[in-house]
């Protein structure tokens, strides 16, 4: 949040398929779609299961634990809202549930970044009605 208190970053526009995900974050839970037809977990939210083509889903809470799959360290502000964050690390993470997520990673020095590094999800409410996930170093499972 900027000093004036106005949130000037890009904000998501939830769809009927994704609204439970965003509502979950507001309750500090990382929710994933689980197919009621075959049990496959998928992310990001989509209307149909690509395995069995069922459109029925339940939402399951992820453990929030995973390991780094890849990353980038951004030094350029591609949007005015991220200028104060530079440089920031974006990590792609293999979650225990078999899908990936991407979020900012905090608390890991650049020279300690490596594939397989354990991380876990934390949450921060950045504005009214919007909670975002971020990543911190985690314990090996």
């Amino acid at each position: 949040m900027s000093a004036t208190g106005t949130y000037n970053k890009l904000v998501p526009e939830p769809t009927p398929h994704s609204a439970p995900y965003w509502e979950g974050l507001n309750r500090r839970k990382l929710l994933l779609q689980k197919c009621r037809g075959c049990g496959r977990i998928r992310h990001y939210p989509q209307p149909m299961c690509p395995s069995c083509h069922s459109m029925e889903v339940e939402w399951v809470e992820a453990s929030g634990r995973g390991v780094i799959h890849s990353w980038t360290i951004t030094h350029h502000a591609f949007h005015p809202g991220v200028r104060e964050d530079l440089p920031y690390t974006l990590a792609t993470v293999d979650l225990e549930e078999g899908v990936r997520m991407l979020a900012q990673l905090r608390g890991v020095p650049d020279d300690k970044l490596r594939i397989g590094l354990p991380v876990r999800v934390e949450f921060e409410t950045v504005k009214d009605g919007l909670t975002l996930p971020y990543l911190v170093p985690g314990e090996p499972a």
């Binding site: 998501p12 994704s18 990001y44 890849s70 030094h75």
Partner: protein, 381 residues
């Protein structure tokens, strides 16, 4: 029915490339289109197919070029893979007997108009990224593609200097081209000193934002023989889409692009082997994307792209000269249509100082968000 040798590129046209044309996208495209039609030895009224890119529609060409009977129009919305995919669409329409001469124009005022990094936020293929990644700060292609390159580096030992070799080689080629935006030489030290954008991409790993237009005419093979220039025959052409096409984060193998699926189809259709390729114009929105495509195309094994480029293989005079015009990195960002135009010039023997001696067979690729691929193999007719 195979598309093999059913179509040929008969005309190419380019405007001057710049950073600020001060002109509309349509006027730029009309200028390049007229040049391409004239290059083919055709009249505008001969054009009976149009595949427009973004920002303009087929009707604009009917109206401005005065096309009396347009029989075919389509769009190929594959981002940077669109141009080569449009060649596939054109040849398919020609082979089906729908039309004879298809105009494929691309034009943009990417530098003076909406900047690419901003515009992608509104593109439909960025919908999932827009909802789930942009709010977290992953906003631009450089950031979205960087994890692919980083994983390649971690798995295979690929280095920033190896990526830099692609930038340096491409710049050297641009220096030979009279219509390139970048005109200063680049050394590997210049590349290493260029500012970090999104690690591992430095400024000189990123392509340009440009103004201008490039257009081609694809004609029925049997009609191409009688036109002004030697035809450049499309031997094989294909497109391919990666797994998890909209989101790189969820892609099972982040180091494999859609072109890995298209390449075997194109080579089989063309009936040629990798050693037969004399010159390659490889879509180069970022240096790493060139390296990854060289691997996915089969010019070297997965993970060996770094040593391959470091050996000088892609330099003019090397085993496989790449982006002899200066590419998106140093000539101009014309969505890869300038890559097709350059391949045509190479195979006609019109490439000037960058001419690959005795170039008979060449390859051109496209790469589009978030990993769509297209490839065409062509020969001198």
């Amino acid at each position: 029915m195979s598309l093999r040798e059913k179509g040929a590129i008969t005309g190419v046209g380019e405007t001057a490339y710049s950073r600020e044309s001060g002109r509309s996208v349509l006027s730029l495209q009309l200028e390049a289109s007229l040049k391409a039609i004239e290059d083919a030895g055709l009249k505008p009224s001969d054009i009976d197919g149009v595949i427009p890119y973004s920002g303009v529609v087929a009707e604009d060409f009917i109206t401005n070029l005065g096309l009396p009977d347009l029989r075919y129009s389509a769009v190929t919305p594959l981002g940077g893979a669109s141009c080569v995919a449009a060649v596939q669409s054109a040849v398919a329409a020609i082979a089906a007997g729908i039309c004879n001469h298809v105009l494929i124009p691309v034009g943009r005022n990417g530098a003076s108009g909406g900047r690419i990094g901003t515009r992608v936020q509104q593109m439909p293929q960025f919908r999932l990224v827009g909802e789930f990644e942009m709010p977290l700060g992953a906003i631009a292609p450089a950031q979205l593609y960087a994890p692919m390159a980083r994983r390649h580096m971690e798995l295979y030992g690929t280095t920033s200097r190896q990526l830099g070799e692609i930038a340096v080689s491409t710049r050297a080629n641009a220096m030979l081209n009279g219509n390139a935006v970048m005109t200063k030489p680049m050394t590997i030290e210049d590349h290493q000193a260029s500012r970090m954008i999104s690690d591992p991409f430095r400024l000189f790993d990123c392509s340009l934002e440009s103004d201008g237009s490039c257009a081609i005419v694809v004609s029925a093979a049997e009609r191409a023989r009688d036109l002004r220039k030697p035809p450049v025959v499309v031997m094989g052409v294909a497109e391919g889409h990666p797994d998890s096409p909209s989101v790189i984060t969820q892609r099972p193998d982040m180091t494999r692009l859609g072109i890995a699926k298209a390449a075997p189809r194109a080579f089989e259709m063309a009936g040629v082997k990798h050693d037969d390729i004399d010159v390659a114009e490889i879509y180069d929105c970022f240096t790493y994307i060139v390296m990854c495509q060289l691997e996915d195309l089969g010019f070297c094994k997965k993970g060996e792209g770094g040593p391959f480029v470091e050996s000088g293989a892609i330099r003019l005079g090397g085993k496989l000269p790449v982006n002899t015009h200066g590419g998106l990195l140093s000539q101009a960002h014309m969505v890869g249509m300038n890559h097709i135009a350059e391949l045509v010039r190479q195979l006609r023997g019109e490439a000037g100082k960058a001419q690959v001696r005795d170039a008979e067979i060449g390859l051109v690729t496209g790469y589009g968000d978030m990993g769509d691929g297209s490839v065409a193999i062509m020969r001198r007719g």
